[in-house]
């Protein structure tokens, strides 16, 4: 039963990721929304097992999402999406626990078998990503602020900040890449 549901879910993810890679932004948005509860539940379980406060799980979730985004060119469109995703998630979870001084065995199955039936609510505390946002160059910060927080489109952001759409896209991507770099340093 559970196996069939998991398989169905993973097939759906693979389909969404294929659409995303061929330029469907909505499919990509849906995919990221769909995987997040599974990542969150597994991160919470990993933290709990390591005796760490589970309210730090959102940092790990955001770290995984950023890595998924910036490394998605390493996904082979002919392969299933879930094993690729869980390999990145496992890597990031182990890293996060190690940084907190814990060595915990995390297996791919921890993710694969997680059903987000009772999705844990996102914790309200500000995350590391939010804290690093202010240390970005002004332009990247403004673009990210506009698109992420104010949910403006690229077009509206360009008009508001008196930039070209191309410049907004570049600033957005650089902003996300430098956020990731800052998280790695901290």
């Amino acid at each position: 039963m559970v196996g069939a549901r998991v398989r169905e879910r993973e097939d759906e993810w693979t389909g969404l990721m294929r659409s995303a890679m061929s330029g469907d932004d909505t499919a990509y948005h849906r995919l990221l929304k769909a995987v997040t509860p599974v990542l969150r539940a597994t991160a919470r379980r990993g933290l709990a097992r390591a005796g760490q406060p589970v309210d730090q799980s959102e940092d790990i979730v955001q770290d995984i999402l950023l890595a998924v985004h910036l490394k998605r060119h390493t996904w082979d469109a002919n392969a299933a999406f879930a094993p690729w995703l869980f390999a990145i998630a496992r890597n990031k979870l182990i890293d996060a626990l190690r940084r907190r001084g814990r060595r915990v065995f995390v297996s791919i199955d921890d993710f694969a078998e997680t059903l987000a039936d009772q999705p844990a609510a996102e914790t309200a505390s500000p995350t590391e990503v939010a804290a690093q946002l202010n240390s970005l160059p002004a332009r990247q910060r403004d673009v990210l602020q506009s698109i992420a927080v104010e949910s403006a489109s690229i077009k509206d952001t360009a008009a508001k900040l008196a930039m070209s759409e191309g410049a907004v896209r570049v600033a957005l991507h650089r902003g996300l890449a430098s956020l990731t770099a800052k998280l790695r340093e901290s």
């Binding site: 330029g23 948005h29 890595a67 992420a148």
Partner: protein
């Protein structure tokens, strides 16, 4: 920024397309190759009797071994740049250069020899070999690491070690055209030691710079 907001910004960046790891690796190696080639011509140069040497199958075998190492390591390193990849099922590729060497050694054993085995093994260039191959490897190793940083290896030290083999294989190809020691015994000893050194440096560097 909460997670929903982060997801929104990631989706907005979906149109950004990164180059493949293979392309980045190729570009980085091509950019570093002139540095190693310059080092080669400044310090070593091609051996003067290269035209006659080319008719010696053991001279040619050196290139087969070093190029097989470089090619196998490039294939394995690109495989390992994917997060879900495992070395299992791919490591045998790295045995191809070793197999060529074993075949070469057996071939040489069956031929009448002018020089005793130990003399052939020790050769006359072992010190140059041990310093020139690692030195010419370094620019290529930096390039391979830069290229692979674009990937997402789950085990950065292993990926770094394979990057070391890529650079050592390419540097040894250059060195092979300078060295007058053609015995497979010499190659199996000194080229292997030099490669092992570069591989260790690659593993060390990779464990730091290939984390993503």
């Amino acid at each position: 920024m909460d997670t929903d907001q982060l997801i929104r910004s990631l989706a907005a960046d979906n149109s950004h397309r990164a180059r493949s790891v293979g392309f980045t690796l190729a570009l980085a190696l091509l950019a570093a190759a002139p540095v190693s080639i310059l080092m080669f011509f400044a310090e070593l140069g091609v051996r003067p009797d290269v035209m006659t040497a080319m008719h010696n199958p053991f001279f040619d075998l050196k290139f087969a071994v070093t190029l097989a190492l470089a090619a196998a390591a490039i294939i394995v390193s690109l495989h390992l740049s994917r997060p879900e990849a495992e070395l299992r099922g791919w490591a045998w590729l790295l045995a191809i250069p070793a197999g060529l060497l074993v075949a070469g050694i057996s071939g040489e054993m069956m031929m009448p020899q002018r020089l005793p085995m130990m003399t052939r093994l020790v050769g006359s260039n072992s010190k140059v070999c041990m310093s020139a191959i690692p030195a010419m490897s370094l620019p290529l190793l930096v390039a391979a690491l830069i290229g692979l940083r674009h990937g997402a290896p789950t085990r950065p030290a292993v990926a770094g070690a394979i990057a070391g083999m890529v650079s050592a294989g390419l540097a040894a190809t250059l060195y092979a055209s300078h060295c007058t020691d053609d015995s497979p015994l010499f190659v199996a000893t000194w080229y292997t030691l030099a490669t092992a050194l570069v591989t260790a440096i690659g593993a060390l560097a990779g464990s730091r710079v290939l984390r993503y």
